[in-house]
């Protein structure tokens, strides 16, 4: 399995992600499973995804590679949980350096795109190593 992509750092520090190609076969979503008493044994996996976790400079990072409708990057505030959705239709995505936060102090958060630039290729490499 392989994934080819390009990440350019734009002049405002944002990242432009462009998927070139991939031949990843994602596992099919699994239904929720219950035992005879109706208790949940395993929850429903809603989306096709491959997940992994790895260490980056002493920090544990969780990385999800998701089969989706639009290519998209999603990152939590601490940057230790990254989801990369890839699509063969919409191949490009801008991860803006600034994110406006409605829920906290209504100010822009400056994201650490330098770190993300390093961690995404590692995450993809780890995902592919699982198979």
């Amino acid at each position: 399995m392989k994934i080819k992509f390009i990440i350019d750092k734009l002049d405002d520090g944002s990242l432009l992600f462009q998927l070139v190609d991939h031949n990843i076969i994602f596992p099919e979503p699994q239904p929720e499973r219950r035992d005879e008493q109706g208790r949940i044994i395993s929850r429903r996996i809603r989306r096709k995804r491959i997940s992994t976790s790895f260490e980056y400079k002493g920090e544990q990072i969780r990385f999800d590679l998701i089969d989706g409708y639009k290519t998209q990057l999603s990152v939590n505030n601490e940057l230790n949980h990254i989801s990369l959705t890839i699509s063969k239709t919409y191949k490009c995505y801008i991860f803006n350096r600034y994110e406006y936060d409605w829920y906290y102090d209504n100010k822009y958060i400056v994201r650490d795109t330098d770190k993300l630039l390093n961690v995404i290729p590692l995450g993809i490499k780890e995902c592919l190593n699982l198979n």
Binding site: Y69, Y90, C92
Partner: protein, 104 residues
């Protein structure tokens, strides 16, 4: 001046970059160009981002210097492969808008 540039990406999306918007757009600026009605407004530096949407005869452009980049995908929602003639027309329209505004 209102200046932006466009770059065509690998999947034919357009990367729109706002270079400058020191233009007196206080609320909403509207004009007709060819068969389109163009609406331009600004987000403050503390709110929102630059984005563009368009339909058959209208183009909406919202500008924010703080978040200057946006993508215009070739595929609409739901997945509609905008034909090349229509897509090229949009591209030319954006270039015309740029020229028209800066000629004023």
């Amino acid at each position: 001046m209102l200046k932006f540039e466009l770059k065509r990406l690998r999947d034919d999306s357009l990367l729109f970059k706002l270079i400058d918007n020191d233009y007196p757009i206080l609320s909403e600026y509207q004009f007709e160009l060819d068969d389109y009605v163009i609406y331009i407004n600004t987000n403050s530096d503390d709110f929102g981002s630059t984005y563009i949407s368009f339909d058959e005869d209208e183009i909406y452009i919202t500008l924010n210097k703080n978040v200057p980049y946006t993508l215009i995908h070739k595929y609409g929602y739901p997945i509609v492969d905008r034909d090349d003639i229509y897509y090229d027309r949009i591209l030319k329209m954006l270039e015309k808008i740029n020229t028209k505004i800066n000629a004023q």
